[in-house]
Symmetry: C2
């Protein structure tokens, strides 16, 4: 029965773990996928996201709505021939948020690599 | 109005995005923090986790329970002097799951770095 570590000073922000820097809105698995694909592809169609991320329509819609409400993506409805389509693009704010997430992940992976037993 | 990409073949698993390889149980921000700290520290006390991750007691307890139920951590209750304490340690299964998460994050960051505009 032992504590290998003593409690951090609650007032010291530097004592917080790197995962504290992660933003749940961006970090969530499906949303991280949406933002990544949208950044790669420029503009991406709903059905493509659905296939790539292997999610249901309802699940994808829910996550798109969260990202849209946070201003990280823009959605655009239209037609391809006679078929209704929804296109998704990443906003400037979304690009910045994704970049911050990548930086935080890089720091976390670096720290975990350094501390590997 | 355009689709920059055509739908992936739904039967082709290789067409799935790297985020598909992430496991929600491990990827969730607070749980990723718990597993990381537990791996670094060997055995870690509840209050230390709470400070490091800046979460409430209830929030931390909920995430610890998820990890314990998945067999990724073990919890041990005892006393330090007269004060009740809960210690958390990562299991072998937890170490493997964290390693898989890190590998998946590394692939994701690499892909995003490569595709940077």
């Amino acid at each position: 029965m032992k504590a290998d570590t003593s409690p951090a000073d609650p007032g010291d922000a530097n004592a917080l773990h790197p995962t504290y820097a992660l933003d749940d809105t961006v970090h969530q698995r499906v949303r991280l996928g949406i933002l990544s694909i949208a950044r790669e592809a420029g503009q991406v169609e709903f059905g493509f996201l659905k296939n790539q991320l292997a999610v249901t329509d309802g699940n994808l819609s829910r996550h798109l709505k969260v990202l849209e409400n946070s201003g990280l993506i823009a959605m655009h409805k239209g037609y391809e021939g006679r078929r209704p389509r929804t296109w998704v693009s990443i906003t400037t704010k979304g690009k910045r948020a994704l970049e911050a997430e990548i930086q935080a992940l890089r720091r976390l992976v670096h720290r975990l690599d350094a501390g590997e037993p």
